[in-house]
Amino acid sequence: MATLALRADYHGDRKDSADKFGGAILVYINWDKHLFFYSAKAFPLDPNMPFAAVLEHVIGTHFCQHPEYKDIDWGTVEWSLNNEPFQPVMDKSLAENGFDHKCLLRFKTAEKSAFADAGV
């Protein structure tokens, strides 16, 4: 729908278009049902980065504060990319894995604890 504007040529220049991040793409990452981290986190990442490096250096350093992080069985983790089921290929890059600008990566783990029941 058209924006209600005084002038027919009114337009907004997209503030967060892909060209504004020095070659990086924005990736949002969330650990589902772990509201200890109150929301997904945003990262500007090099699309050539292998997924394994993201797991180690991005997820590994930003979600490890949760006391149950160390117990994650990564073999059973369920991933989704832009809310579609997704199976990452560890040694392939983000771009090769289908990541694009402002995409949403979510992972679901299956630990069983009172904190997990509460979604913490």
Binding site: L4, K15, D16, A40, K41, P67, K102, V120
Partner: protein, 501 residues
């Protein structure tokens, strides 16, 4: 020659009807260029019923007297070291939020009403908007003065105006008013005059002012009382504009409905911070957010929308959702600020056991199940000397700019709500269906939202160099004005004044 003295009614009639210009050699449309593009049809401005009935000379006289009294009380408060009478220094953090996030909104409202006070075609409506514009300007001034005493003794107040254009959570309020002020005059009146001032204002001012009264903050209470007569006029104007627009032309009804749906949602999202203030920041609590919402929105708002039914206006269709969210809102917000307190201009803390029990009692359906465990975990960490601060930056909603913290309260409150849409090939993310619809109705307006997190990544907030640079850019005194209340300079000073070891 006899000089007959005019009564107030005649004076007002002359001011609002007789003093207007007829445009004999200029096109009236050129004088009011903003009056038609929104699609609102006005057939007769003379049908406008003046809500204020106040002439300019009466306005000045009355406000001057009021302000004289107000400043006398501020002086007394200051000379008596009034800050020592608050219940606890933690309380002061509530008014830090007020000054940094609410007061600048008064200035924005001043500017918005000045705009409508120039650009609505009817002189009665213009005069009323101009008076409200002056009120809003007085409000930010009196608020700054009320807080200035606290500024001498507590951290976090001094850079409020610098922070307004920069700090991540303040962008939420700024963008709300920017959105309203960049709309046409009628949308602004429905947004701020009606939706905010008439429907939601009791949920903003009453909690802050009664919170102040319960917690011994005489400066803020006095300001609140002084502003009350203005607020009453503002509410009358908000209701008048709605009735006037709806009575003028039936084509106005769907436009007004759309604006009400948009602006009640935008305003409600802003109130998240009030919810948190009421439930977590007041040492002496007034009532829970849930109770306030039921009283001021579900009951009072329900009656209002019943009245508006005869014009064909309906309660927005998301009211079931907000009814469900009232069980969650404050807990989600305080946790967000608690864990991000390294980047706020106020202190946060873990609720005491007594407060946790109060929350359990007020929120029997949700608190023990979802929120108490978070505080237990935070406590465990703090006891080990590892007070938890979240690493990294949050994903934000493109429309309301609030971090994407809202969960699917009607299904599983442990799941964050994710909505997104593509526009011009780019993906945009939202916290709710409502924020998504607002974007989709006017994408050109929201594609250039200044989202603090993305701006930081683009290097526009102090340049590259990490969060330290960003804090400098915010002028945030890390370790003094922010982080945990326990161990802060505020706490230390408070203990010294109170003679507590």
């Amino acid at each position: 020659m006899s000089t007959k003295k005019l009564n107030l009614k005649d004076k007002y009639r002359l001011l609002t009807r007789d003093l207007d210009w007829d445009f004999s050699y200029e096109d009236r449309k050129d004088a009011f260029p903003f009056e038609e593009f929104e699609g609102i049809k006005i057939t007769d401005w003379d049908k406008w019923e003046d809500p204020f009935r106040l002439t300019m000379d009466a306005y000045w006289k009355y406000q001057a007297e009021k302000e004289k009294k107000l400043y006398a009380i501020y002086d007394a408060f200051s000379q008596n070291n009034g800050h020592l009478n608050v219940t606890d220094a933690r309380y002061v953090n509530a008014i830090k939020i007020f000054l940094t996030a609410v007061s600048p909104g008064e200035l924005a409202a001043h500017s918005g009403f000045a705009f409508t006070g120039r650009h609505m075609g009817g002189i009665g409506a213009r005069i009323a908007a101009q008076m409200q514009s002056l009120d809003e300007l007085r409000h930010i001034q009196t608020q700054i003065h009320a807080m200035s005493h606290y500024n001498k003794f507590f951290d976090g107040f001094d850079e409020f105006s610098h922070m307004h254009d920069r700090v991540w959570y303040i962008s939420v309020v700024k963008s709300f008013f920017d959105d309203a002020r960049s709309a046409g005059p009628f949308e602004f009146m429905v947004a701020i005059g009606f939706s905010f001032e008439y429907v939601l204002t009791n949920l903003l001012f009453v909690p802050f002012m009664s919170g102040a009264a319960y917690n011994g903050d005489m400066a803020t209470v006095t300001f609140g009382f002084s502003a009350q007569s203005d607020e009453a006029r503002h509410m009358t104007l908000g209701l008048e504009i709605i009735k006037f627009l709806l009575e003028q032309h039936e084509d106005n009804v769907p436009i007004v409905q759309k604006w009400i749906d948009k602006w009640l949602w935008r305003g409600y999202r802003i109130l998240t911070v009030v919810a948190m203030m009421m439930d977590y920041m007041l040492p002496q609590k007034v009532m829970s957010w849930k109770e306030a919402w039921e009283l001021y929105f579900e009951q009072a708002g329900g009656a209002l929308f019943k009245d508006l039914e005869r014009y064909g206006i309906k309660m927005p269709d998301y009211t079931d959702l907000i009814k469900a969210e009232k069980e969650h809102l404050s807990h989600q917000a305080w946790w967000t600020f608690y864990t991000n307190s390294q980047a706020t201009a106020f202190h946060t803390w873990i609720p005491s056991n007594q407060e946790l029990d109060w929350l359990s009692e007020k929120y029997p359906e949700t608190f023990d199940k979802y929120y108490r465990p978070r505080w237990e975990m935070a406590k465990e960490m703090a006891d080990k000397g590892e007070r938890y601060y979240n690493e990294g930056l949050p994903q934000l909603c493109q429309t309301c700019q609030i971090p994407m913290i809202y969960t699917d309260v009607q299904n599983d409150p442990r799941d964050i709500v994710y909505r997104s849409t593509k526009y011009q090939g780019e993906r945009f993310h939202f916290c709710s269906d409502q924020c998504q619809h607002i974007f989709e109705n006017e994408p050109e307006k929201y594609v250039h939202s200044w989202l603090p997190v993305h701006q930081i990544f683009q290097g526009n907030c102090g340049g590259p160099g990490g969060l330290e640079k960003v804090m400098d850019y915010y002028k945030l005194d890390v370790g003094k004005a922010n982080m945990d209340y326990v161990g802060s300079p505020d706490e230390e000073r408070w203990k010294t004044w109170k003679g507590v070891a």
